[in-house]
Every structure is written in C-alpha cells, then in structure tokens.
Symmetry: C2
Subunit: 324 residues, 2 copies
C-alpha cells in the first residue's frame, strides 16, 4: 500500500501531457477546426497542463497531405499560427513514429521551432532506429521521450535490454505505453518497477500512456504516479484511438498540485468535446474494446467493428477469440 | 505491490454478486420485463455468478406498489416464478434498507423462501437498527451481509466502532459501499485494511460495492480483491444508479477461476442490455457524476441533471462547487 502522503501531498516533478490532438487525431484523421485547436491551447494554459502535443511529424512522402488534417504533419508554421511565440509555461510536443517520419529533414533545430519536446514512438523491435531519432532530436536541442508501444506484449528480458540501450542515449523520458489497454494496475506496478530501475540508473524520468479498453486508463495512470512515474498522458473526454485514453478531467481532478485546475477542462468539454461527439466523431469505451483488451490484441479489429456500425458483440467475440 | 500469484492464480473464496436488478432498478423504477429477468437468471447460471440479487424488500406501506416494478418489493412468489425451486449453485439475494423495510413481516423463514441471502443496507448512524435486522434475518435462517453505505464520508473511528458492534452479530459479510464513487484505489486499500482487521477478529468476510463516477468501479473492485476482499458486486453493462457500478463483463474477464465465463455476459449485453439503452433507460459514467464523485457528494444532483436532459456541464460544476 502506498503512503498516505502520496495522496494528500503532491510530487512537483509530475508533468501532465495533453495528447488530445495527437491520439484524438487518430479517430478523425486529424481534421480539427482551427478554433478548436486554439481553444484547446488556451484551456491547457488555464488548466496548468505542462505539455500540449499537437500531433505527428508524419512523412509527407508516405502519407497524402490531402487525406489528413494538418496535425498529422505538424508543420512548424501551423503550430506557430496557434501559439505565436508561445511565451508561456506550456511546452509543445509532437510525436515522431519510427519508420513513418522523415525526421532528419522535417524536424528543424529547436532554436528555430515552436516545439520543445520530440516524442519518439517505437516498438521494442525497432530500438536502434529509435536511438537514431533520439540522438537527432537531442542534437537539435529538443527534450526527447521514447514511447515504447504495445508494452503488454513485451518480454521482460527484451524490455530490460531496450531500457539498457535507451539509458545510454540522451533521451529524457522512458514511456510505458499500454497500446492494447490490456494491463491491470497490479501489472502496471510491476512494470513500473522495471522502468524505475533503469530510470534511476541512467537519471531518466518515466511516463505512462494508457488506453481505456477495460476502463482502467485513469486507474493505471494513478497507479503509476503512485509508483514514481512523473509524466502522465491524458486527453480531454478520453479522446483517442479505440477506447481512448486517460481522461484529462479525471486526472486534473485527482492531482493535488494547486497549479492544476479541472474547471477549464470541464468548460472545454462542455463547449467543444461534446460538439465533436454530436458531429459523429466516435471513440471511447465499448464492449468490442473490452474484448481486444482482455485478449491482449491490437484494437484494429474492434476499430473496424466500430467503423462498420456493427452491434453484434457476441459474434465479434467469437471472431476475435477464434483468430490465431 | 501485490504478489504475482494473486493475479495468475485465484482465491476460491471469491463470490460474485449480480446486482443488476437491484441497483439497475434504481434507474428504471424496477420495471424490468419478465423475459429480461429470466434471461438474466439463465445468464448468471452460465457465467458462474454466485449470487443474483433480485431487488429490494421495500415496505409496501411506505412505497406505492403502483409506482414501481415488482422488484422493488421482491415478493417470494415473484422470485419463484423466475427460479422455480432454484436447484442450482446460484444463490438468491435481496436487499433490505434500514427504515424502508417491514422486515419482521415481509421476510419469511428461509425454509419457506427462495431467498438465500439478506443484504442489510445501512448508514453508519443507523447501526443498531441494522443489528436488529441482521439478527432477525439470521434467526430466520438466512445468510446475512451488512452493507455500510456512503463509506467515503465515514470517520475511521466511527467505522471501527460499527465493525466492532457488527462483529458480534451473526452477520456473515461486511460490505464496503462507495455510494458516491468518491474513492481512489489507494484509499480502498487503506479502508480494506480496517475491514479486514475486524473480519479476522470476528471471522467474517468482506465485500465491496463500487460506483463508477470516476471510472474506478472496476479498478476499485480489483484493488479490493487483491487486498483480501471476497465478495464482489457487479452489474451487467454497469447498470446502476448514476454512473453505475463495476461492470460484470469486466469483472468476469478479470477473474481467473475457471468457473467464471465472460461469454454469456457478452451475449446477454448484446441481446438485452443494449436494448434497454436504446429504449431510453439512462445510466453510466458522465461528467456530472465525475463532479459529484470528485467532490464526495451524493449523486442526487447529478441524477437530476441527467433527468432534466441538461448538457450545461460547466454551469452544473459551478452549482455543485458553490453549494454548502
């Protein structure tokens, strides 16, 4: 059991990362209205959020710019149109996927960019490519995190080898990413112990990005913060792929640091997030996501089920249980 | 951190209690169709659920039988119409509220009844009345639990005094009831320690009934079972007052005892629960319940907000924060 002080007091090192545009963009192909993005930025400022992630730095030779909104590519000038010179305490991040980003060209020097943090997303089997991206970003002057995806499928030995390699890079933060929403808090606690061991050895921080397939995104996030994880991803109304993420409004309500305020989050949801839902953008916990989470599978079959407007949950369960 | 064995193995003493008709009845005034109730009973049998709660034993002199469905009153003959002589492993329970039940008259001898378990629901300030009900039920031959509601508002000293009194009664199970959905898993762990101390002293079991105001009903339930709690309340699709309860489909997916099966739960939801929602019965996590949970308030204002079809979440937040 954790100490009561952890709940009543707060750890100043905690950082809240708003990933609404980035993970939420996965459900509307990054087509956010400009006034939405501006309001989100202002909300994050008022709510005391530490980082706002604008989207991906996706390779335009790989993805058609006519088939996605601009936040899939996050050109620096598009960010500047929202944040100006961003003379605030809110830092700006983008995500760069291993194998889907022309990082040497598209990520500029930090001194010329509104971006503060590059988040390198990788699977365990592409760590050397991630290392190259981390070094590139660090050399350009950025803060860097490494987000290791699909961690519920990792062998602990492989994870230890990866953290050993990453520990020797200039990366600032190791991220636990439960892409499948498959993990229970007890498992998060054990996994956090492994991450914390290497974070202590190499003087890094640890972050968590959770998914809500089993209604545990918030629970897993607060489990992790109780175990020493400092960087916490959240999205307004849980907007994100499939079952979505840890809800910003739950997290801000929980955190005790008086710099965080839940009321701006509620206002933003009231005005903007519910409108998105009414317009037909679909995300969030539902039975099909429970099933893929429970079975520790990628949610793509469940996302397809949702897209097709299917409601035959029992038939879907038979399909996902049967597939090898 | 809990032991890995707790997650991979299982504790045979765990009991799952389906409270769908009882807590769910609070959102549709107990008007369930007969075929729904029959299908629920058959589902619980197939899913390996241990207890099925049919509803309340409410006092007919206090509540108008024309204004509620029959499961608010749970006449023995109505239960028999569903379960026959119930020659199964599934036991039957009803809830009896302190002050709202004519228990001496309405609860018959167990040998003449299909009911196995009487769950006495009380607040901390009505323990002597609860004790009288517990003794009445035990004397009639029933298993008995005592469900202490609104526990997030309890002083630990008062709780200890209550458990000391209840320990000396024939009650079988002490229940933790987070009526306001206000508690975090870390707090559940600490509260469970107090309950377990008295359970050990008096040879009782401990149960948990959680609410989902902060999307923690399932997380709090699995926290509690990891801490030694054996009796776990759940409802299909989380159906229950306000934000609802721990979802049966999440709990059955989590529990490792092979007697439990999640597939019948999915089938039942597919066929019956989604139909209820389509018919306009409303429950489940929403922003107004987050707010009352966060503020440790009774959800009645949030329920009223829902009933009125209001969507002005920010205005509601101002109201609940402002009220003394």
């Amino acid at each position: 059991m954790k100490e009561i002080a952890n709940l009543m007091a707060y750890r100043p090192g905690v950082k809240v990362v708003d990933a609404t545009l980035r993970d939420g963009g996965l459900v509307n192909d990054f087509y956010f209205q400009d006034d939405f993005v501006k309001a989100l930025y202002l909300t994050n400022l008022r709510a005391g959020v530490d980082y706002m992630e604008f989207g991906y730095k996706a390779d335009k030779e790989m993805f058609d710019v006519n088939k996605f909104g601009k936040w899939k590519f996050c050109d620096d000038e598009d960010i500047r149109a929202v944040v100006g010179d961003n003379a605030t305490d809110l830092k700006i991040s983008v995500m760069a996927d291993v194998g889907r980003c022309n990082y040497k060209q598209d990520i500029l020097l930090r001194k010329d960019s509104p971006i503060d943090l590059i988040r390198v997303a990788t699977y365990l089997n592409t760590i050397p490519a991630a290392v190259d991206m981390i070094e590139d970003a660090a050399n350009k002057g950025y803060e860097v995190s490494c987000n290791i995806m699909a961690i519920s499928n990792a062998q602990e030995g492989d994870l230890r080898a990866a953290l050993e390699i990453l520990g020797q890079t200039p990366v600032n933060v190791f991220y636990i990413v439960d892409s499948y929403g498959a993990m229970y808090p007890e498992q998060i606690a054990r996994l956090t112990d492994v991450y914390m061991e290497f974070a202590a050895k190499y003087n890094k921080k640890v972050g968590i990005h959770a998914h809500n397939n089993q209604q545990l995104a918030f629970a897993n996030t607060i489990e992790a913060v109780g175990d020493g994880v400092d960087w916490l991803d959240a999205t307004y109304s849980s907007m994100g792929r499939g079952a979505g993420n840890c809800a910003m409004e739950l997290l801000l309500g929980f955190l005790k640091n008086p710099k965080y305020n839940v009321y701006p989050a509620i206002q933003f949801i009231d005005t903007h997030m519910n409108k998105l839902k009414e317009e037909g953008v679909v995300w969030g916990y539902d039975l099909q996501y429970l099933m893929t989470g429970l079975l520790n599978q990628h949610p793509r079959t469940a996302i397809q089920f949702t897209k097709e407007g299917r409601k035959d949950y029992a038939e879907f369960y038979r399909q996902v249980v049967a597939q090898d």
